[in-house]
Amino acid sequence: MFDPKTRVLVVDDMMTMRKLVKKSLMEIGFSDIIEANDGAVAWEALNNSPAPVGLIVSDWNMPNCTGLDLLKRVRGSRFKDLPFLLVTAEAEAKQISEAIAAGVSGYVVKPFEVSMLKTQLESVAKRSA
């Protein structure tokens, strides 16, 4: 599993979803959580964070820069090995394949329970180790 001290970047345009994801991550044990309200802001946060970000948990459907756009940008940069989890209501096989092709580390379909998020994070941590 991830070190609980890992800095996590939560990306979602909806404030309530950021709150929900943050609350769930805190229940799992994370405490260093920063937030961004779209992919473009997340990219800035990733580059300017004083402590390195160790995990991104992002929504897919966002205005301006989507979660998929952010994922592609991350995979094409110096952060290419950063674990990247998509938490999204997009559950169709076509979309999941698209995310996998872009290099997503894990995928959680909304609505989700904390246990589902934890299980996904455990698999992501195992694959990233």
């Binding site: 979803m17 709150k19 997009e90 559950a91 169709e92 989700f112």
Partner: protein
Amino acid sequence: MSFQKIRGDVLITYFLKKDLTSDLSESLARDILDELEKSPVSGAVIIDFQNFRLEYKALKALTPIGIELRKQQKQLYALAENRYVHATIRQEGLDTVVKPIHSVNQIGVDGPSPKAPTKIDVSFINPFIEGTMHVLDIQCRTKVNPLKPLLKRSGEFDCKTDIAGIIGITSKSFTGSIALCFPEKVFLDLMSRMLGETFTEISEDLKDGAGELTNMIFGHAKTILNSRGHTIDKALPSVIRASDLKIDHLGNHDSIILPFSVEEQRFFMEIGTEKN
């Protein structure tokens, strides 16, 4: 000025001279309000886009104007040949408050035309019913009971709406929108359970929760319907917050009401679709 205005007895028409950005939209909204304060319009307010584009954030300033006009049985129209303008409004689920039209001939200043009766298609609405039950169970730890679906025109269902999450539906064969409508207390109870805090008012921060619940239910239903051959596109939700809100859907069709009960309170989903 970035727009030109023509005021007649029935219509106020604004002709844009540049793309409608959020800044321009705010000054346009202020001007419309000033005009309506001077004297109410008897027909409609039209924004003629010419060939200019629409920034989706610009819709925010126009939404309260559209709602206010609807309360007065009037309509705000977006007249545009550019299909992108229509698609943006529909994707934001705002096509009832800012109605996109291609021609002024589509303006019904004498009121909406009668709606054709619509059958309730169980195979289409069931994924939305299941989705609502599933999403609220998992995300809000709340069991809700579906009540008998009915056509809106029957007038047999009455439930106050203080906040609604709306999402536009576009597909190859039909377009429309869904609205998840809550009285304030039901919404606050659901958000309190979802986020593990007690909320007593619908703050700016909290209201997007209505959009997110709608988004999850739409995502659930879309997955099922597309697996059966539909081609429903992705869309972003929007939220309308107003006291005793009435939702209407674009087109000559009847909306379907899916009522739910939760601990002796009620809320509902409205679905309005029309064949392309």
